[in-house]
């Protein structure tokens, strides 16, 4: 079928309000609608890609091994140096109570990345399974699942996540573990319909292919076809979404922290460092802007790297598809 025709047919009946371009909503700023030709050339691994990869590995490594690193405890206070800017012993300066910002940012990475990776995994498994089922079996089940997806997509992600946490874990005395658990559950639930729709669309396309027909004619069971034939082809798209998704969740946790329902501030996270740092900025005299800048720069460079790597993965995946 010629390309433009397919385009217009697709555009002609977006079955639901959130149909036509759900990807761009959060996870996919530049959807691969038309410009596959142009895109293949733009994002290669290159030097920038390697820098991004190294940064991601470094920040994950630092987060995992934070207790072993030669840095002060995030709660240790250097009262004499409280509020001072970057210096040799404290490369990112200290906050108003004299805690070392470098150490707090690294310990903050632990909570931020834990919540992000866990909730994206949650969303990937949930959305992936539902999307594969909807896209492969189609029919009534697909219609039903699409309605469920659209229902959840009709509430903005942040509001939905906020509402779920508000109900289950918003008491001020909540424990860190409980809040983190509900952050993961709520953000995971919120991302299921987004990932589900993308997986469904991808599955729809792949399960029309000849090799799926071939597998079926050889008598392969549906479950085997999904796992062995469809899933491996849908995987690259899901992996790219996962990278972009982790970036989105890091920012989302920050937003929730500003609203007071992120990771509780007894355990540093990038979000709550910024949220508690807000008070520091309102000081007229002796404000220490590094309390905002240190975690902000950590978020910025991590999100930037993840976005870049996500694009690289997607570009590779597109190239392979167009080469077929």
């Amino acid at each position: 079928m010629p390309e433009p025709l397919a385009e217009s047919a697709k555009a002609a009946e977006p079955a639901t309000p959130v149909e036509a371009g759900v990807q761009p909503l959060v996870l996919d700023p530049a959807p691969a609608v038309k410009p596959t030709v142009e895109k293949a050339a733009t994002k290669k691994m290159g030097i920038v890609g390697w820098i991004a990869l190294i940064w991601i590995i470094a920040i994950f490594g630092a987060a995992i091994f934070a207790p072993l690193l030669p840095i002060p405890k995030p709660t240790k206070t250097f009262l004499l140096h409280a509020g001072e800017g970057p210096q040799l012993a404290h490369p990112l300066g200290l906050d108003g109570t004299g805690q070392d910002m470098f150490s707090r940012v690294i310990w903050g990475a632990r909570a931020s990345l834990l919540v992000s990776v866990a909730s994206v995994l949650f969303g990937l498994v949930g959305g992936g399974v539902l999307g594969l089922i909807a896209g492969y079996y189609r029919g009534k089940l697909d219609t039903l699942l699409s309605y469920v997806f659209n229902t959840f997509l009709a509430i903005p992600q942040l509001v939905l996540a906020l509402a779920i946490i508000a109900v289950f874990a918003s008491e001020p005395t909540v424990s860190v573990e409980k809040r983190e658990f509900w952050l993961v559950v709520s953000i995971g639930l919120v991302s299921i319909p987004i990932i589900g729709r993308i997986t469904r669309a991808s599955t729809l396309a792949w399960s029309q292919r000849e090799f799926v027909l071939a597998a079926r004619s050889m008598g392969a069971k549906n479950r085997r076809i999904i796992v062995r034939d469809v899933l491996p082809n849908v995987m690259p798209a899901m992996f790219s979404i996962a990278l972009l998704g982790i970036a989105v969740v890091i920012v989302l946790e920050g937003g929730l922290s500003i609203l007071g329902v992120g990771v509780p501030s007894s355990t540093p996270s990038w979000g709550n460092l910024i949220a508690t740092g807000r008070n520091e900025l309102t000081k007229i005299v002796g404000a220490a802007p590094q309390v905002i800048f240190a975690p902000s720069i950590a978020i910025f460079s991590t999100v930037l790297s993840l976005n870049y790597l996500g694009d690289v993965v997607r570009a590779r995946f597109d190239v392979r598809e167009s080469a077929l």
């Binding site: 371009g21 761009p24 909503l25 038309k34 309605y147 997509l153 009709a154 903005p156 807000r278 902000s296």
Partner: protein, 325 residues
């Protein structure tokens, strides 16, 4: 026309599901919902409160009561410690608060969307026209970097440097347009910029890639062969067919904007819907929360419905396909 009616039907189903879900969510609150309202009440008082709040009724009945209220413009009441009297007096009505807050949030999002499009469209057209040039690469890299700046970080940095330090605007508060137009824009400038910057990058990149595809089409070559100026081709011939995806995404992005506005309103202490939602959560005002989420979902769904209708206006192919079907 039939297609439009069908869409409205689907929207209705989605809305019913959304409100059912939010109502049910409130039902899942673990523990006794009256504890946050009156921490030291006796068991009898609690039973009395639950009765007044209608929390002792079964779920379907309460949902029906809520829907019935909403249809009549009554979005429920804030719970008070003196008891919530649904039928009698309602000192603190959700509808009243929403009436004050909604225009503020809508205005903020409208400004942000407008600012984002005003900046993004010329940049998108320009970078598509000069695709591959140094200028294009520079703008694209900048846009890619902008995407990675969380709006709350931008908001805090702006509030600190432009507000607190430079003292050009007050970093918090809101002034009505009718009260003082100048101060109105002064107060909303920082929140609007914080919300718009991320969207600029999204819209620009989107328009650029669509525009590049459009510029390769035959009718553009034809226009060029006729000797039309580049500006005319870009703005009159290529922009409209390239703007369809942009329009959809602008509609869908309202969801992101709402989420962003919730956070930004809290940073700048603007008493819009986002502020009310956060406030309702902290005060355990679940009926209010339920109504606010429903209002937002309704607005979001309605915007996307309008985008779909606009689609047909912009794209004659769809218009004719629908007319034929």
């Amino acid at each position: 026309m039939r297609a439009v009616l069908q869409r409205i039907g689907q929207l209705g189903v989605v809305l019913v599901l959304v409100t059912l879900f939010t109502a049910f969510l409130i039902d899942l609150v673990p523990g006794d919902p009256t504890i946050p309202l009156a921490p030291f009440a006796t068991t009898d008082q609690r039973a009395q409160m639950k009765h007044e709040l209608h929390l002792d009724r079964p779920f379907p009945e309460r949902y029906a009561e809520w829907v019935n209220g909403v249809v009549h413009g009554n979005f429920g009441c804030y719970y008070g410690t003196s008891g919530y009297t649904a039928a009698k007096s309602c000192p603190d009505s959700v509808a009243d608060r929403a009436k004050d807050a909604l225009p503020i949030s809508l205005l903020l999002m409208f400004y942000a969307q407008l600012l984002a499009l005003i900046i993004a469209i010329p940049l998108g057209v320009l970078t598509a026209y000069r695709a591959g040039s140094l200028l294009d690469k520079g703008i694209n890299t900048a846009a890619f970097a902008l995407l990675a700046i969380p709006n709350f970080v931008l908001a805090l940095v702006l509030a600190y440097y432009v507000g607190t330090k430079a003292g050009w605007v007050s970093p918090t508060g809101y002034v009505d347009f009718g009260q003082s137009p100048v101060e109105h824009f002064q107060q909303l400038a920082l929140p609007t910029i914080s919300l718009a910057v991320g969207q600029v990058a999204v819209y620009m990149r989107l328009l650029r890639s669509d525009m590049i595809a459009t510029l390769q089409e035959d009718f553009v070559t034809m226009a060029r062969a006729k000797g039309l100026s580049s500006a005319r081709i870009l703005w009159r011939h290529a922009l409209r067919p390239s703007s369809l995806t942009l329009l959809t995404v602008a509609g869908l992005n309202v969801g992101t904007l709402i989420g962003g506005a919730v956070v930004i309103e809290n940073i700048f202490a603007i008493h819009g819907m986002g502020f009310l939602i956060a406030d309702a959560i902290f005060r355990r005002q679940y009926v209010a929360l339920q109504s606010y989420v429903a209002i937002i979902a309704l607005g979001y769904v309605a915007v996307n419905f309008l985008v779909d209708v606009l689609y047909t206006v912009l794209d004659p192919r769809i218009r004719h396909a629908r007319a034929a079907g």
